[in-house]
Symmetry: C2
Subunit: 436 residues, 2 copies
């Protein structure tokens, strides 16, 4: 039997910042040494006159340009591999709906590091070998499947690899196997709660659920609270992406006040996606990550496209790894109105606070005269009044709260439930009609 | 890096039979000791006055009744667990289309044993850490996903967890990643070859494929040969089932003359599914297996429902573990005509030898007067003649060959392509219209 407590490592998780930076520097030098075996990085290091010996401090990293998703595609499939192919034991690939997919390769060492890091995350929120852990991710190429599976097994939990879909079967597993913890994307967690209600299962009385791991889909604090209440669980936010191996890059502790990004395994930067300069600490920008524990395919200054900020201050849990805020959206989704960077998630966050509103909304930006105008249409909830004065009052209140958040006054329009376009896949939230 | 050669173990694979039986007995006693922790087996052993100490030879096993799928269902989900639940790290469940699914639980030890045994199988047919191994199984609950994944990683192959479906994407992976080996069910291997042809990929010139692992679906030697030719590979037959952990119970060596059943991990019996008595060596019957290396959920004398026979004689490869023949179907599919046990696969095997025929056929059994009559309708292939005398001659030849195989003379009818009922899922091959 596994000695599970190896997944709490105070000497790493509460390491003094100065020591952490020393560890990062040593690992960065090793990463640069390894990466120079890959044709792509060999050229990049040589062009920028960098060697693992010349790197003297973490800031030296900034002498290197960013690595982007396009670099992965242009060097598809194996141009960034820094090891002999016979050391590679796993490949994960994006769906590649347009052009070549992005491919990430792993050595056994990489899989071990990833599994251990993710086991650390799960141990942090209280999961133990007595838990029954059901994973509703797709398996195969999607890293939320095998990634979570391996980590939960390391922890010694009873893993139920249910995979995606079939809600009735998921619920049968949850009740029959005494599932205590579930991994799901937020929208699927909500769906499971709905189906439970339809079939008369009370998650509080009829299940032993206590923990949910949610990730892979941006969501607001309000959505988390709703899911927690619906299922009677604590829901912990998990951040990751296949380019950074998969889930487990950053993870909430039991204080639920931001996600500890594991700085023994990654160097993080937050940049302005327009200027590419670092943003002041605490401000929102694009997360850029350098891997520190991969040997098959290290990535250096990788632009994740995910928007977040570093939460200032110390976490009461004692962990010294800095926390990032929940993902605010994708840098590709950012739009600029009157010189202000705006992310759809900022709008959504405010709208979700009104119980009178539904969940569907649409932001339209257009040129009116010489000015940019921003309009927010949002559907009303099922049961709201048609009392005109109440609707007017609600509109005013929403407008005021949006202005507080984005520093602009949008035109807010309340519409009937079902009147905005529905989407089967990823909802379209922004229509930019301005002449470029 | 893994020392891959640990997956050839001559001391086990070519063990002298006497030594193998000693090993089996020791492991059987240990299995009985462990199994007695499960309520189901505790009662069964007590009812039959068996303890691990009382077992003196392998034949003592026959003092115990068979374990069946119904026993698994009646004790759903955890009545056969022989260990503390906190030692269980994985659960696999059947789809359970009718009634409760069957559930198999694994400890870390069980997963290690299973992975190592399957890595042994794959090493046996020449797979190494230089191979690129693509798994087209469904993942999640289906054991062909995680089972094969873990084993291929142990071997150090570059695994591509493509999962099921999306043939165009599978083929893109095969060409782009230089896939050398694929795991697929036989019908899907054929489908991949068809789609390759449609999109102008020549498996001989445009891919590096050399090995295919096929299983989970009964198929004939003729189908194997066809698949090998279509894809330019050697195709090795793999046998397993979730109740016996999954794939890797028996596997062909490079001689392709039957599947070595790993007798260090299983005790096998072949019984008549009607009388439940052992059949003479070499005759077809139902395979019954006892696990020898599981500790979370050992199964004793489990009726697999799979029909096969032990192939007499020694294999030129030197392995001493006895070989079973390819699966002949399910004992549930067996039908009896005029006192003769007949399996649909026997019919299929003969029909597949005629290049003039398509792949769809239907066996109908009916009472005519006081006699059972058997009729075989089979579709012609695309391009066959409508010359009456040629059709008559073909019918006679098919009838003669069927009679040689099943010792009865069926009425054979050739029909046009597409005129028999099509099936989306499992084809219905037998219609029994007799009054019971």
């Amino acid at each position: 039997m596994k000695e599970e407590s190896i997944y709490y490592q105070p000497e790493i998780e509460t390491i003094e910042r100065g020591e952490l930076e020393k560890l990062q520097l040593a690992r960065l030098k090793e990463t640069i040494r390894i990466a120079s075996n890959a044709p792509f990085y060999a050229k990049l290091f040589s062009d920028n006159k960098i060697t693992h010996e010349s790197v003297g401090c973490i800031d030296d990293l900034k002498k290197l340009p960013f690595t982007t998703k396009s670099d992965l595609r242009d060097n598809y499939p194996f141009g960034l591999i820094a090891t002999d192919m016979k050391n590679v034991v796993r490949l994960h690939s994006s769906s590649g709906t347009t052009g070549n997919p992005t491919v990430i390769c792993h050595s056994q060492h990489d899989l071990d590091q990833w599994s251990n890091r993710l086991a650390r995350c799960m141990y942090m929120v209280g999961l133990r070998n007595t838990d029954v852990f059901q994973n509703t991710s797709g398996y195969g190429m999607f890293t939320g499947g095998l990634g979570i599976q391996y980590a939960a097994e390391r922890l010694g939990a009873l893993t139920v690899p249910a995979a995606a879909g079939n809600s009735l079967r998921q619920i049968k597993f949850i009740t029959d196997f005494g599932t205590t913890a579930v991994h799901a994307i937020p929208s699927y967690a909500t769906r499971l709660a709905e189906v439970m209600q339809e079939v008369g299962i009370d998650p509080y009385k009829d299940t032993q659920l206590h923990t949910l791991i949610i990730g892979a889909e941006p969501h607001t604090e309000e959505q988390r609270k709703k899911i927690e209440k619906l299922l009677g669980v604590k829901a912990y936010n998990c951040f990751g992406m296949s380019e950074m191996s998969g889930p487990g890059v950053a993870f909430e502790c039991t204080y639920q006040n931001g996600l500890h990004l594991w700085e023994d395994c990654f160097i993080m930067e937050i940049i302005d996606p327009e200027t590419l300069q670092p943003v002041p600490e605490g401000e929102i920008g694009e997360l850029v990550l350098t891997t520190l524990d991969r040997d098959a395919m290290p990535l250096i200054r990788y632009r994740t496209r995910d928007l977040t900020r570093i939460i200032p201050g110390k976490c009461p849990c004692g962990r010294t790894h800095r926390r990032i805020d929940r993902i605010k959206g994708r840098s590709d989704d950012m739009f600029i109105v009157k010189g202000v960077n705006i992310f759809p998630m900022q709008i959504e966050k405010i709208l979700m606070q009104f119980s009178e509103l539904g969940t569907n909304y649409l932001i339209t930006i257009d040129t009116v005269g010489n000015n940019d105008e921003m309009m927010v249409e949002v559907e009303l909830g099922e049961l709201f009044t048609d009392d005109y004065s109440k609707l007017q009052q609600l509109t005013r209140e929403i407008t005021r709260r949006l202005k507080d958040e984005i520093l602009l006054t949008p035109k807010v329009t309340l519409v009937d439930k079902g009147s905005l376009p529905q989407s089967d896949g990823k909802a379209i939230r922004v229509k930019d009609l301005r002449k470029k």
